[in-house]
Each structure stands twice: as C-alpha cells, then as structure tokens.
Symmetry: C2
Subunit: 204 residues, 2 copies
DNA sequence: GTCTATATTGGGATAGAC
DNA sequence: GTCTATCCCAATATAGAC
C-alpha cells in the first residue's frame, strides 16, 4: 500500500465512494457504474487505478483494517481501576464492531470469502487477527499486574473477549434489523459484557 | 410452509439442490440455471414452484431454521452434573454454528439482509431468536435448580452464551480459512467456552 | 407440469479520442 | 489520465409445444 499522503485525489474519491457503496449495498449489488457515478469520475478512470472490481474491494478492506488498528491504540491503558479499564475496552470494541463500516466490511468479506480465499485471508490477518493481538497484549499486561487471573491463556481469552461482544445486539445490527442502535442499548450491552468478563477473568 | 410429508419430489429436489448451492457459493453467485442443473429439472420447473430466486432462497432458509430448532431439543436436559450439561449445550451449539449449512445460511442472509429486510427478519425470528429462546429456557431451569446464579437474566445470558461460541474458530470457518475444523480444535474450543461460562454463571 | 428455446436487461470490461 | 461510447457475456424470467 502506498503512503496515504501521496494518494491522488481521484483515487481517494474512488476509494471513498466504493467504501460507502460496498458498506451499504454489499459487493454483488454494487456496479462499477454506480461507483463511478458516486465518485464523480468515469468508469474508465476506475480501471486506470484498479484492475477490477475485486481489486477495488480489496483496497477498501485493507484501508479499513489499517484504520481499525490505528484507532484501537487509544484504549490500551492500565492506569484506571480494572473495571474501568475493562469497560473502556468493551465500549471501544463494541462500538467499532457495530459501526456501519465494520459491519459492512465483515458482511461483504464473509459473503465473498468462499470464492476469494486471498481476500478472506488478507482481511482476517489485517482485521480480526490484528485486533486479537492487541487485546491479547492488553490481557497479558493485566495478568502481569495481577489484576486478571494468571492461569488464563491470553490467546484463548482474547477471542472470547471479542466473541462476547458479538451478541444479540450485534446480530440484529448486522442483519439490518436495527439500523442504528440506541445509546441505551449499547450501554446495557457494554455493562453486561463487562460484568461477565470480570466474573470470568478477574483475579480473586 | 406446507407439511413436509406432502411435498412433491421435484420440489424436494429443487430445495435440496438450492440449499447445497447457496450454502457453498452464496446467493449472487448461484444462477437459476445452476440450480436447475443440480436438481435435474428444467429452469421453467423452478419457476413453477417458486416465484423467483428470492422466494427459493427464502424457502431454503425457513426449512433450515425449522431443522435447527428440532435438532436442539435433544440437548435440553438437566440430569447430569452441571459441567456435563453445560458442556453438552456448548458442544451441540458450537458444532451446529460451524456446520456448513449454518455458516452458509448465515453468510448469505447477512449479505442479502440489507436489501431484503423481510428475509432478514424472518431468518432472525426463526433462527437466532428461536435458538436463544431455547437456551434461555434451559438457563432459567438451571437457575430454578440452584445450579446457575439467580441474579443473572436469562435474556442477557443466552445471547452471551451463543456469542461466546462465535470465537476465533468460528470466524476462521466462516471466512473459509478452515474448510473443516479438526476434532481437536473443536474440543479445545468447547472446553474453553465451558470453563468461561461456568466461571461467569455457575452458582457459588 | 415439464420441457426447449429465447427475449431482454444489467453490468464488467475496453477501444479510441483528447 | 480522463472521458464517451460500446462490446459482450451471463443470468433472470418467460413463451410456447407436448
């Protein structure tokens, strides 16, 4: 991937337009005509920057994964009380997971994953796996400080952590039944997940 | 939905063929030609039974949801020790969730959910919501028997229960990175989830 | 009800001018 | 690099015979 600062304006327009459309409509339902229209360029220009529809989608996914990892840096702290730190982690990751960008990306990669293994693999490594590594590091540091049980394996606990966030609220948002969840619903889900995680992982 | 016993053979062939194809290829990638070929009937026959591709997919999804609820009856017991009962639940639901049929259905409904709200809603009610109701009943009965904490809300705990199963193994299977998970990987995931659930929910 | 054959549209990709 | 105009195939759905 090229340096973001050196990206051409047209390429940016195309990536943004494609991101919006793929997120809201999925992969198959979005035509290259529609992307060109949304981006305000001609279809031929699309093909000047990307070899095809799949390459364009792959670029959108890659960019989003990088953005996620960047954003997650801010919650990696250990200074507040354990419950507060845990709550921040849960809050951050739940809000990320139910964001339109994350839902749309996951939804579309999942749908196309079977036919495009390279895309699925690249997404997994840059997205979920990268997120799990971050969370695993946070858990390990909390263990070192004696605030989380020493006997749990961060490599097991990190996936369980994120899995717990993909509960009923997540499913309903992913299926499009709840376009935009209420703040109350999010907070309730965060509280419930935090309670369960602390009961399962907090040191005695 | 009509009585299964009264279904015509051709309709059965079409539903089975469509189920196989949608599961492995997704919705958009499967043509009605391919369904007709796989079912051994002509394309016109497809349209005699189903008004179109969406109706056909909807029928496949509905049938699978019914099958899931039927299958889940067998794990609703409370006679063995708590750990054993919990383990059976986890084992059953994890194996179901990572089955090709469940993954394929979820994947495809998710992808099409945005454009077909009715399908998404019908799937949610007949599938995830129905499963959660069953699990909620099981949890409530365990609470009544004093083996699970009285203060937890089954309506919160049931989604957390299933969410915990959609961990790293599930994601990798769903993305197609692991076509068929090893028995060891499944057992390890079951053990880990059972441990965490018991730590979080078992009565003291 | 079931087939063969076809109408028709939508969309990925490209040719060629500027 | 960017545009307009176009090619071409694939896929949904249907018409009409049996």
């Amino acid at each position: 991937m090229d340096n973001v600062d050196e990206i051409s304006p047209k390429r940016r327009q195309v990536l943004d337009a494609a991101g919006r459309l793929f997120t809201s409509e999925g992969f198959a339902a979005v035509s290259m005509d529609a992307v060109a229209r949304e981006a305000g360029v001609s279809k031929a220009t699309l093909y000047a920057y990307f070899t095809g529809k799949h390459a364009l989608f792959g670029a959108v996914v890659a960019e989003r994964c990088v953005a996620m990892v960047e954003a997650s840096r801010i919650v990696n702290d250990h200074d507040a009380p354990l419950r507060e730190c845990m709550r921040r982690q849960v809050d951050f990751w739940l809000r990320f997971l139910i964001s339109p960008a994350a839902i749309g990306t996951y939804r579309t990669v999942l749908a196309e994953g079977g036919r495009f293994p390279d895309l699925a693999h690249a997404f997994y490594e840059a997205g979920p796996a990268a997120g799990l590594r971050w969370i695993g590091l946070w858990i390990a540091e909390e263990q070192r400080r004696g605030r989380l049980r020493a006997e749990i394996d961060p490599r097991r606990a990190a996936p369980q952590f994120t899995a717990l966030l993909r509960g009923d609220l997540y499913i309903q948002v992913a299926l499009g039944l709840i376009p935009v969840p209420s703040e109350e619903a999010i907070v309730a889900e965060v509280d419930a997940a935090t309670d369960t995680l602390l009961r399962a992982y907090a040191a005695a």
